[in-house]
């Protein structure tokens, strides 16, 4: 079992806390004068996203989390699992709804996503920063309405809803920023 000592703690280090993989987001040494030092850390649980606070006696060791990242191509969803493929080995991975999370709103197939794996199992999927998706449904914009910045809702082919300018029609292909969930332009 690989471990890290508290003197190896730094932001981004992946460790196991409460049996879950976590990423350290803050590490502070608490040291009363010449005495025993303690490491007070904040860490984000990579499965649930929750932030934990912990204190360790310095020189204590903590189990390392075997977390990897790789680029994978999205293939399809069978309703229960989302299937991805590593393009050089053709190895396929099935990610459940918890791992896919919000990413499901933005992918329809063939997108290259970043998959985080823990002990070889998909932990989280991050979509590309920009995706191109067709408009499935939107109300027609009112002719002559030229108000700057006016928007209307549109439903995309993946089922997610975004705010779009009034001139967008059904069937248009849109470029979306997945980090903000906002319309960027027509593709």
């Amino acid at each position: 079992m690989a471990t890290y000592s508290t003197n190896q703690f730094k932001n981004g280090l992946k460790i196991i806390l409460d049996n879950d993989p976590c990423s350290i987001t803050e590490n502070n040494v608490v040291k009363p004068g010449k005495g025993q030092a303690f490491n007070k850390i904040k860490a984000r649980n990579l499965r649930t996203g929750r932030v934990l606070e912990r204190t360790f006696k310095s020189t204590e060791s903590v189990e390392a989390a075997d977390v990897d990242e790789m680029n994978v191509e999205y293939l399809y969803s069978d309703g229960e699992y989302w299937h991805f493929m590593e393009p050089s080995s053709f190895e396929q991975y099935a990610a459940d709804a918890i791992a896919v999370g919000e990413t499901a709103k933005w992918i329809k197939g063939q997108e290259v996503c970043v998959m985080m794996l823990w002990n070889g199992e998909p932990l989280s999927i991050t979509p590309p920063n920009f995706v191109e998706l067709a408009v499935a449904q939107t109300d027609p914009g009112l002719k002559g309405d030229t108000a700057q910045g006016a928007t209307k809702p549109a439903t995309l082919e993946t089922g997610s809803e975004v705010k779009v300018p009034l001139f967008i029609d059904e069937g248009d292909i849109l470029k979306i920023d997945t980090r903000t969930g906002e319309y960027v332009s027509r593709a």
Binding site: V29, P32, K34, Q36, K57, S58, T59, E60
Partner: protein, 336 residues
């Protein structure tokens, strides 16, 4: 390490405040005819303190060490000379990095032959008052610490009042119990064996005692448990308990200075060095290289004296009301 961080992260006002602080410190000691000295930063010896680690360097391929404080060398001067001396120098400690720590930092350290702990605490309070009152002459109002206040509390009073235990008698499991009673988080790795007692004291100090200190004033904590004597003399207090004549100065919860009525007995010093090295081994650390020249100086005879070291970067944080040590350093570790 980010690219192109060539500029200092400290403001011009803070750089000027540092220069003024150094000038004021030198004037304070000059007025009292205390001599400024310099001692080597690079040494054949390393610290034996279980909770400090010396940074290593090499000379002609042989390992040598950067000092964690100038204490041993200054006491060698004192043993030969017997006059009060002070030094402003850099000290280096491995694995210390955070809002209050930089691996390289500036220390003011001075020694007063013939002074006991109370006399040196009083002189430190004088210096702090002078520095606070004269801090913003040049730089225009970045400090508002005009009339500093000083509280004095013994380690025993502090623990009886804020933790509910007598620190000179408590065991590790009583400390553990006190943590539970007071709803204090239990750090991972802190057990209840005898070897963990000082770890518990340190933890309870940070969690229950220091938060009770006046937020915008200075507090002296003195008469430490004998188990935390470091290089201080051990004597009996008025309740016939063994206490170390050691003190620390805090501003709010932040430690600024550590002082001792100095141990002068070479046999006891050697015994403590060996004990500290045993503790280092238990912690899985390398033993410190004991400074034999320092022991020889004690054999020759160190005058009865008290000494104190104050972290000047942290003191500058107090003067300038900054919360991160990076803000008072020209270049902190990430940009050094």
């Amino acid at each position: 390490m980010s690219e192109n961080n060539w500029r200092t992260q400290a403001s011009n006002e803070i750089l000027l405040e540092r220069a003024l602080m150094l000038k004021n410190i030198r004037a304070f000691f000059d007025d009292k005819n205390i001599v400024e000295v310099e001692t080597p930063l690079l040494s054949h010896a390393s610290t034996t303190d279980p909770h400090l680690d010396s940074l290593q360097s090499r000379f002609r391929g042989d390992v040598c060490y950067l000092n964690t404080s100038p204490e041993y060398a200054m006491k060698r001067l004192l043993a030969g000379w017997g006059k009060p001396i002070y030094q402003i120098c850099k000290a280096f400690r491995d694995d210390e990095l955070g809002a209050n720590h930089n691996p390289e930092f500036t220390l003011l350290e001075w020694y007063r032959p013939g002074y006991n702990m109370q006399q040196l605490m009083a002189e430190l309070a004088d210096l702090v008052s002078v520095l606070c009152c004269s801090s913003d002459r040049a730089v225009g109002g970045i400090s508002i610490m005009k009339k500093p206040t000083f509280d004095y509390i013994s380690y025993q009073q502090a623990f009886e009042r804020f933790v509910g235990i007598n620190p000179h008698q408590a065991t590790a499991s009583e400390c553990h119990q006190a943590a539970l009673t007071n709803n204090v988080e239990i750090p991972q790795g802190l057990g209840t064996g005898d070897g963990e007692l000082t770890g518990w004291m340190d933890w309870l100090l940070t969690q229950l005692v220091l938060p009770e200190f006046k937020k915008d004033g200075f507090t002296f904590l003195y008469d430490y448990p004998a188990s935390q004597c470091a290089l201080a003399k051990i004597t009996l207090n008025e309740n016939q308990m063994l206490v170390a004549k050691r003190f620390e100065l805090f501003f709010g919860e932040n430690e600024l200075a550590n002082g001792f009525h100095e141990l002068t007995d070479p046999d006891e010093q050697l015994r403590r060095f060996k004990l500290e090295n045993q503790t280092r081994q238990l912690l899985g650390k390398d033993c410190g290289n004991i400074d034999v020249n320092f022991l020889a100086a004690l054999e020759h005879g160190l005058p009865d004296c008290s000494g104190v070291a104050m972290g000047l970067d942290r003191f500058l944080m107090v003067l300038t009301k900054t919360m991160d040590i990076k803000q008072v350093l020209s270049f902190s570790w990430n940009d050094a």
